[in-house]
Amino acid sequence: MPNWPPPVDDRLLSLDAARTPTLYAGRDRESGRLSYPPPADDERYALEPLPREGTLWSWTVQRFRPKAPPYAGPEAFEPYAVGYVALGDTLIVEGRLTGAPLDGYRIDMPMVLTTERFERADGVVQTTFAFTPQEQAA
């Protein structure tokens, strides 16, 4: 297996051999409710993969570098889009958006899960998740 940067969180995000990402939620074994991000308590929650495809529920653009901490991204700041994507009848999940111009996102646009390289200011490189317009996905 090639040496890809590790996910920002092992329980949240996995990558298969083809680098296809999967996001996970935790299903409460008693109530059946989904929790996201998945809680660490394995006794109470079973990890469950979320659908990869959905529609854009809302979006915005982060135009200034967030305060650090908590932000751990690079010093050199590039604005990025952020949105909520409704993943079928599971959850509406928040993430970075990629693959379209910053003003190119529209509510109800079909979106699909993808990965993004996340270079931290401390030099560590990780893989995070993002959503991209479906027609953009290769």
Partner: protein
Amino acid sequence: MSSVHIIGAGIHRFGRTPQRTGLQQGAYAVRQALAAAGLDWRDMQFAYGGSDAAGKADTMVSELGLTGIQFINVANGCATGGSAMFGAYATIKSGEFDLGIAVGFDKHPRGAFDPRPAEWGLPDWYGDTGLMLTTQFFAMKIQRYMAMHGITAPTLAAVAEKAFDNGTLADHAWRREPVDAATILAAPMVSDPLTKFMFCSPAEGAVALIFASERKARELGLPSVTLRAAAVRSRPPGSFEVFSPALEVERGPSPTVIASRAAFEMAGVGPEDIQVAQLQDTESGAEIMHMAENGFCRDGEQEALIAEGATRIGGRLPVNTDGGCLACGEPIGASGLRQVYENYKQLTGQAGARQVPGDPRLAYSHVYGAPGVSAIAIVER
């Protein structure tokens, strides 16, 4: 059970005051309120006070006087001021005491808030990757609302323009210069669709309100308003709140909707009876959405209401008559009490150049914040 009356109000101007700590601004507001009412700190039987980021309220007794007063600190995030007021309300209503004070103050550093994920029960990656910003939440809430209900960007600008116009008329406001709608629209985006003039900024300031029982209020004979309702509510299932990595597919009402209903029920009045309103305006879209969430119009009607000037001073329902958070800035612990201060001034005819005409009798205030809490107060002259 006594009815609850506000018989005095004091404020330390909002904005930036480098020479005073937040606590000192709080004590300043207390002294202003006492002076306005002709009362002494020794007359106060109880106090509720709090700040989000500027220290422990009860330490101000060392400046105000060591009277042995029952002083309870309140820390309830964005509802700190509203919760302090709720404490005073319940204390008077129960008959425990006759006369006391609620004080809220704050002093935040410049720029956006910088929360720590662990304090909000969230994993580090959420903050690391740049998703943990209040500004993103407000932008995405209004972005969707605009698409669903036909609200346009010029309406966002009109709300901010009104705020700055009203701020020019309020001595305690931070922003005292008008900014026209075209400038507001053309300003740099902070988080689309919101430009920099559409967001309030973390700031400083303090407010103190003096509460009295019916008997005490009558004895003192001061200009006063009756607190007809005070309600604080946390979030119900399906609400959209700040710092949410995911939302439920089944959407529900906001904490504002349930707090508002509770307050109207307590007061025995409806939205149509309110003559002046102070609504949480963290950004201009929030004021628009909160008009509907508090029951003052249906979703989408804001577009026409704002265009016809209904929310301006002199309009059908003046909103944020002192410029709200947009013109005053947001010292978290003080904002909720500032709204009630403004309503007290309006109902007692002391609002000067920003006085709402027509001798208003009934006023409404609404403060909202993270992680999904709303506090409502309805006051009547």
